[in-house]
Symmetry: C2
Subunit: 338 residues, 2 copies
């Protein structure tokens, strides 16, 4: 199978995925009879280009990383906009990794709609579309008989959506509790080690973990979007309606963490979804968790998801200290499951 690939967004995650793809080229062909070429790359700041004969991926990574324009690449044709690029790219699989717009998930939702209705398989690492319009996009993919995958939107490449879909057939998920936001978890664990809030936040930013606007992490909304994405896919929350409560970590100081510890607790930002009588209740808030509990052991950028199911009781999956490679792997795992 030979696949034409298009990239919408070519930031850290997409470029790391590009390096993995290039590195694994020989084994993908040998083990899976999978060959590929990249026929389109769209960026906000480095241009949008097409090339039917294929763009050298490592060259594109070098061009963008050094701040130059993709139009410099030999044989690449410039296109005016991302929307136009999707119309013209004639790809088999499109990787959508544009930055999150937390208000309405746009323009990523329109990009995905456009690609799916052109019968292009879509893989996204962008939680906005799954949190805001999952049902519509899933149904659109079904209607045009193409794949729509999004493992990287929650907990990077750690299987959460695929875990339930392929490994827990016949079970019903009726709720979950989780630690989903790496920035606030890193800040809380640095503060537990005695460092002040501002310094902890700066470290999270230095390490490239905090989102572009840290308020969005700090105030809990990143975790809410991820919890909504999980609830939409695993609990059909869009059909049932959701109620959301959200509280961030802005008010927490070192004294509060120390008082909790003296009483035998850590503080973690816990995201929950509960199947209520009329809707799915989603909450994100800092909670005291016992020092000897699973959640207290989740430190730094690690994440955890505890699924509550009928036949299998509680199952937890933990991602230890993820980096950009783990999110990039999500794109690969989705590609290999297409």
């Amino acid at each position: 199978m030979h696949l034409k690939l298009a990239f919408i967004g070519f930031g850290n995650v997409a470029r790391e995925f590009a390096r993995i793809l290039d590195h694994d080229r020989i084994s993908l062909e040998a083990d899976r009879a999978l060959t590929w070429r990249v026929t389109a790359i769209a960026t906000a700041a480095h241009g949008c280009v097409l090339s039917s004969r294929g763009i050298d991926l490592l060259e594109a990574v070098g061009v963008v990383s050094s701040g130059r324009q993709l139009t410099e690449i030999d044989g690449a044709t410039s296109v005016a906009s991302t929307a136009e690029l999707i119309e013209q790219c004639d790809a088999d699989v499109l990787f959508e990794t544009t930055p999150l717009n937390p208000n309405d998930g746009q323009p990523a939702i329109d990009y995905i709609r456009s690609a799916l209705s052109r019968r292009i398989n879509v893989i996204t690492a962008n939680k906005g579309p799954i949190a805001c319009k999952y049902r519509e996009l899933r149904d659109l993919a079904k209607r045009f008989n193409v794949g729509f995958r999004f493992e990287g939107t929650v907990m990077d490449g750690t299987p959460v959506f695929n875990l339930v879909e392929t490994c827990l057939p016949g079970t019903r998920v009726f709720g979950f509790e989780a630690i989903l936001n790496s920035t606030t978890n890193l800040i809380l664990t640095l503060m537990e080690d005695g460092r002040p809030f501002d310094e902890s936040l700066s470290e999270a930013q230095l390490r490239g973990i905090a989102e572009a606007n840290p308020d969005y992490d700090i105030d809990g909304w990143d975790a809410v979007m991820k919890a909504k994405a999980l609830a939409n896919v695993l609990m059909d929350a869009e059909r049932r309606g959701t109620r959301v409560e959200c509280e961030g970590i802005r008010g927490i100081d070192a004294g509060e963490l120390k008082a909790a510890r003296d009483a035998g607790f850590s503080i973690r930002v816990v995201a929950r979804a509960v199947d209520g009588p009329e809707s799915v209740m989603i909450s994100v808030r800092p909670e005291r968790v016992k020092l000897d509990s699973l959640f207290a052991t989740i430190r730094g950028t690690s994440n955890v998801l505890v699924l509550k199911t009928d036949l299998m009781g509680e199952i937890a999956i933990v991602e230890q200290d993820p980096g950009v490679r783990q999110t990039a792997y999500a794109l690969l795992s989705d590609l290999l499951r297409m």
Copy 2:
């Protein structure tokens, strides 16, 4: 799709699975177009019977649970032995749940060989065959173009084999560490709460968690078999050869647990596999684990597996407080993935 099902072994796990199958009959037909009938059941103490028109599963559960003979069931034909039953059963899927023989995995391996070479799909919850003869059985299934599944052999229905196969494509597992034996974990955590070894063992037996012969759990060999099964499937250990070290919990007393706790540790029976230069090193032994570590939070009958991978780093999956239903679910999940 209509499937003829055969049961080899009809103990607690198979009977719980039978209850789930019966309970889900309508939804399996509605959601998955799957109908079934049971054409054969073989037991050691309650006879072996065939019925081409189908055996009422709940009736069979009742007969065996009350200590009677399966030949009492209307329309059932008696067969002399399990081997003969496999030859004659004409099933599509065979569930093998006979008790483990820890020495060589027999006679389960012969049952599975016989079924696979008659083009019968096999689902087993018996770790012996996977620990002793995985490669041969996998290749036999491939040769006869039938399925061979075994999710329930390690950590009950919690996805471990399926997790790697379907959710982590393209990654390499180069090692793992795990708590795999519920009996020793329950005993250690009861002893941490101040109860003596003998009393803790009795409780594990009362709760139906200890294997028939508790020595096998206590001395670490149950965990070794599970670790070998994992290493065979996830790390191709049979081809590379294995070295095994095993130490049980017989020597541990309350004083040692208290001394560990005072120093900031719990004791857990940790199973490890490491990809060595010449072979796969498998070890099972009691280890001190930090009180604030993931492993220290695994209490009672809970289990954990931490996979060490190239692309995804470390991923942990935790099964919380499993019972017989979770093992029975493994058979259902394997059936639905056939």
